[in-house]
């Protein structure tokens, strides 16, 4: 029997909710730079929140409630980290809650905030996420004392996102994710392993191209330059080299996976009818957010869960795929880009790989994807990444991205969240004209 995916019907929000402010720190390895060594979770969350509040035209006094997201408790050594950031955002005494959905945390951070306002309970809500994916806390020491967590040690902690009853014991679930979506795509659309390998490498190239044009990205050097320094005139020879870019599975290579790092991002939402009280900027309305979860014993879980989340949000909003101007996909395993963009109808089914190979999904292409460089090149501060995508989407929709502004001002954008083996979301946001 194929994977069972129960369906949910979304109801309209009780009142319209809009994004009025966003903030994002640089994504970085804080311990690698004397300028950032010793920064703490309160400071990163606070800087992102402060930028979002300034952007929104609100002060801490205007904010009724805040959400805090963080994926890995080793990052700060807290299980109630929302409490620890209150003083840093000028909200001592205000209500808050912490949530944690691994790499999907930042996307659900938007959902939490929108629901809180749509329900009528609160008017102005801050939602922020912070992650120390690279510089983790040292127990019993003040938070400015940190140490690097090697990838091997980090990968050990991913056991926290897999089912212990069966999936961990049966072994396939925690590792099949490396190749599951790539194998599905190649099998379904008739690509050989070698052809799929090339497509994956092109996705990594496109992400890096986008990232080196983004001021907050952790990646500052483009792959052709790195390849040349390594003795490769043709960058694809470098990308397809098992020595330079080792395989993680049959399909996925190292440069098609995340760069874990430290960072924070935040958003401010309020009822659309109240936007003019705070800012002259055009509100960006959250039309709807679909959600679906499947744990890792389910084959092709990303495909199934993305289809369901996308189905929900299209059904609710009646937005058509052809109305999407821009898309963001959490792509810590980069084939996510391709399969999600096709499921959403942003790229034509079975044809998206050609767009990717032709560079059409770069920020300066006609079908831009992950204009910040995605998880493989912008960096992955796990909880914060979803809100970093939202930060980027909002600035693209305002048309103020400068050097990396997409060609056509986007009005309608989808963000596909993914993480935690696996929570999946599909949000549609749209600039609201006066």
């Amino acid at each position: 029997m194929n994977t069972v995916v129960n369906q949910t019907k979304l109801n309209p929000y009780s009142r319209s909710v809009s994004i009025i402010g966003v903030g994002c720190t640089p994504f970085m390895n804080t311990l690698e730079d004397p300028a950032t060594e010793g920064l703490t979770e309160g400071e990163l969350f606070g800087y992102a929140a402060m930028e979002a509040m300034k952007d929104a035209g609100v002060t801490p006094k205007d904010v009724d409630y805040y959400f805090h997201g963080q994926a890995n408790p080793m990052g700060c050594d807290y299980i109630t980290p929302n409490i620890m950031v209150a003083n840093w955002v000028g909200m001592k005494g205000k209500g808050s809650i912490h949530h944690s959905e691994a790499c999907c945390t930042g996307y659900l951070a938007l959902e939490q905030a929108v629901n809180a306002v749509a329900s009528g309970k609160y008017n102005v809500v801050l939602s922020g996420c912070v992650e120390f994916g690279d510089a983790i806390a040292i127990p019993y020491k003040p938070s400015c004392f940190r140490r690097r967590i090697p990838m091997e040690e980090f990968l050990e902690t991913t056991r926290w996102i897999y089912d212990k009853a069966y999936t961990l014991g049966m072994m396939a679930g925690p590792v099949i994710n490396f190749d599951d979506s790539a194998e599905y795509y190649a099998r379904t659309y008739g690509l050989s392993v070698k052809e799929m390998d090339e497509v994956i490498c092109h996705m990594a190239l496109n992400n890096r191209y986008n990232a080196v044009h983004h001021p907050l990205s952790i990646s500052k050097v483009d792959f052709p330059e790195i390849a040349k320094a390594a003795g490769y005139d043709n960058v694809m020879d470098f990308m397809l080299s098992d020595k330079e870019n080792p395989k993680m599975g049959e399909y996925l290579r190292v440069l098609g996976t995340e760069i874990k790092c430290d960072g924070a991002a935040a958003v401010i939402v309020c009822p659309t009818e109240m936007v003019s009280q705070f800012t002259d900027k055009k509100p960006i309305e959250v039309l709807g957010i679909g959600s679906a979860c499947l744990e890792s014993s389910n084959h092709n879980l990303e495909i199934h869960a993305t289809r369901e989340a996308v189905r929900q949000v299209y059904e609710l909003t009646r937005v058509k795929p052809e109305e999407l101007d821009l898309m963001y996909v959490n792509d810590f395993m980069i084939p996510s880009q391709l399969v999600s963009a096709e499921i959403a109808g942003y790229l034509p089914e079975g044809e998206g790989w050609k767009y990717i190979k032709e560079g059409r999904t770069r920020f300066d292409g006609d079908k831009p994807l992950n204009t910040n460089g995605g998880r493989t090149s912008f960096g992955h501060a796990h909880a914060a990444s979803g809100l970093a995508d939202l930060y980027e989407a909002v600035h693209q929709m305002r048309g103020d991205c400068g050097e990396h502004q997409v060609k056509k001002l986007p009005k309608t954008v989808m963000l596909r969240g993914f993480g935690g083996s696996q929570n999946v979301t599909a949000a549609i946001i749209r600039t609201k004209e006066a």
Partner: protein, 133 residues
């Protein structure tokens, strides 16, 4: 936002303790002093705060003598736990050295009683406790 704009408040606080200085952040709008230091004023919500060196003068308004679980820092005994108000206005929970089971009642009778900040060494870093005057 650029890295250079992200001032390190926590690290600066601990670095200054190594120099024998206890620092807070003063709001340039309402003069509220945040101790321990943070970069947004919790009183008025202003984003504009600046460093201030604290005098160390303070008073305490409550006394809970260390005992059982609350005596978990034997290197600093005798001490009590209490709410300490700095001369600059901030209130914080703190250890107050010099208070014993025997003399606690004497201090309770004259609350708020005066005390002063003291920089002490913990495992790998310095921190702040208080001592009765």
């Amino acid at each position: 936002m650029e890295k250079k704009d992200m001032e390190k408040i926590v690290k600066t606080f601990y670095d200054k303790l190594e120099e024998g200085k206890i620092m807070g952040r003063k709001c340039t709008c309402c003069n509220n002093v945040e101790f321990p230091p943070v970069f947004i004023c919790n009183k008025c919500g202003s984003f504009d705060t600046e460093w201030i060196e604290l005098s160390g003068k303070a008073s305490f308004k409550s006394v809970m003598v260390a005992n059982g679980q609350t005596a978990k820092y034997p290197e600093f005994l005798p001490y009590a736990l209490g709410a300490v108000t700095l001369e600059e206005g901030s209130e914080v929970n703190a250890l107050i050295g010099g208070i014993t089971k025997e003399n606690a009642e004497e201090y309770r009778q004259k609350l708020p009683a005066s005390c002063h900040a003291k920089i002490v060494q913990r495992d790998g870093f310095k921190t702040v406790m208080f001592e009765v005057d």
